[in-house]
Symmetry: C2
Subunit: 326 residues, 2 copies
């Protein structure tokens, strides 16, 4: 399949599971050098002295075809012997590291300690896992999502894993984002004439995509980008496919609708892809000056992922940015 | 079994496997507060960013009853999923870390990074594993055995594991030993009136015991100690029960005999325990002014370990140091 002319490229912005699904679809529709996946790293944290990058790992494992699809995270066929031994030793076990997954964190930590950047460590891991698409952390500098809750501000993984997203959310703070530099390849790709589209994957808008957008220069580069910016709705039929997106929207007093997501992204977007189930919202979104594509967006099978990716790529190649036409 | 009067104590000096066997025997003959095992840490190293203390772990796992007796190191029922995943990622796999064992290194490293000493980390791990005897690293400061070989000087684990003890040895250097402090409890126990005996376990004299003896103040404290210093021969019938002791003796142009071990320890010793197989060497050792006990020393079963420990404790309680009698 060769949807996109040879010299053209797609940039996907991704969080974890939902984003990785579409990234996998894109990887099947594009040749390796045509796809760059810039991944959220504001979920990263240190655990047991290890540098853990959950979204990068999910994207990497998914593109390598070794992700656990049933569980939705980690590596398939994973075992938990180390976790049980950690428990026996009274270690922290609230963040579950599988025996295989642990190797990724050991290697990444070793590379980081030896002075390699997160993107260099990621490139190494991708090479070892046979991932040929370019997977980039949004930044080589630390940015950490702090969730503002009724119980005070807590780290993202504590909120997400330890507290099972239970605390009521009133906002987010991306610690370090004001001094972090967006990855240079991320910014240069946005200026690249070969770029055919920027795809904001169906990831959590608040904690997966917003940190990327909040990096210095990213919103400006997106607004100047000649390629269309296309978001795929993470909300279908008023519910999130996975994760706390809908719950967060409620707690932030937003309607849990595709329209509300499109509105949240606002000026950043040229195009919005929403599910057939939400077709009736299309007009409201168009009224915001955002073009829409209505298509099945729920990705259960690999074929679903590929078909959605195919739709998005076609959409990108057909769409011309209003402000750049004239 | 209560061999030793209640207030009396035994101090065992141990390397890995052989030493741990006798330490286990001792732990069966003594109540918890009567046994302190000071363990060699000159084999320690950093691997994959983890603080690894092979001899401490062997002693700890053995006393906890979770050691793998067939393999001779690590934890029984161990699995190797992480190692296979590390290999897939191109990580270092020459030092084999099992999934369970890895938890020990993660916890120890985490404790060390948070500012705990090696002895504090060891005490924590022992508590978690239900080890009630006092297990102490010989020092909280780093000492590293460098093996002087025909190929130059190499780290102990590289020599022992990576090079399988193949390079010909011409000597040893204990990097850091001149500035390392012997563990304060180690030195204070040697001055303690309640001490009934110091047992140098059947460990490698050159790389397991010598680093302990080479610490500042240890030889002096041993010479002033009122309790007898008893070594158990690691050489039986001209061969080492385990490990490269005999090979090293050959390469250092020493006879591979119990006598040569006794001679190597020399003035440090009051007593030497040698196997029935080497009974004929008893006179030569006595001629060096070292008392001898001839008894079965090969520890195959738990009962063997307990019987040898029993013999050694009885020997200690019966023997009075020549220089302190008068």
């Amino acid at each position: 399949m060769q949807l996109l002319p040879k010299g053209k490229k797609i940039l996907a912005l991704s969080g974890g599971v939902g984003g990785a699904k579409l990234a996998l679809g894109l990887s099947h529709c594009l040749s390796a050098h045509q796809l760059t996946v810039v991944t959220n790293t504001a979920d990263d944290f240190e655990h047991l002295g290890l540098s853990i990058s959950p979204d990068l790992d999910t994207v990497m494992y998914t593109l390598a075809g070794i992700n656990d699809q049933e569980r939705g995270w980690g590596i398939s066929g994973e075992s938990w012997t180390n976790l049980a031994a950690l428990e026996r030793l009274g270690g922290d076990t609230w963040f579950q590291l599988g025996d295989q997954d642990l190797a990724t964190h050991l290697i990444r930590t070793q590379l980081r300690t030896s002075g390699k950047s997160l993107s260099e460590a990621t490139a190494y891991l991708c090479r070892q896992l046979g991932v040929s698409a370019r997977v980039l952390p949004m930044s080589d500098d630390p940015v950490r999502t702090m969730v503002v809750t009724e119980r005070g501000e807590i780290g993202f993984q504590q909120y997400f894993v330890k507290e099972r997203c239970e605390p009521k959310v009133s906002g987010f703070r991306f610690a370090g984002v004001d001094v972090a530099a967006a990855h240079p390849e991320f910014l240069s790709l946005l200026r690249d004439e070969s770029l055919a589209g920027v795809v904001i994957c169906p990831s959590n808008p608040f904690v997966s995509v917003e940190p990327l957008l909040a990096l210095n220069g990213v919103r400006e580069a997106l607004s100047k980008c000649h390629a269309p910016i296309i978001a795929v709705s993470p909300i279908v039929g008023g519910r999130a496919i996975k994760g706390p997106t809908a719950k967060m929207m409620q707690e932030l007093s937003m309607p849990t609708s595709a329209t509300a997501v499109a509105k949240y992204y606002g000026d950043v977007l040229d195009c919005f892809v929403l599910d057939d189930a939400d077709a009736s919202e299309s007009y409201a979104i168009q009224a915001m000056g955002i073009d829409t594509l209505v298509t099945p967006t729920v990705m259960q099978s690999l074929q679903d992922r590929i078909e959605l990716a195919d739709q998005v790529i076609q959409y990108a190649t057909c769409f011309a940015r209003q402000d750049l036409v004239v």
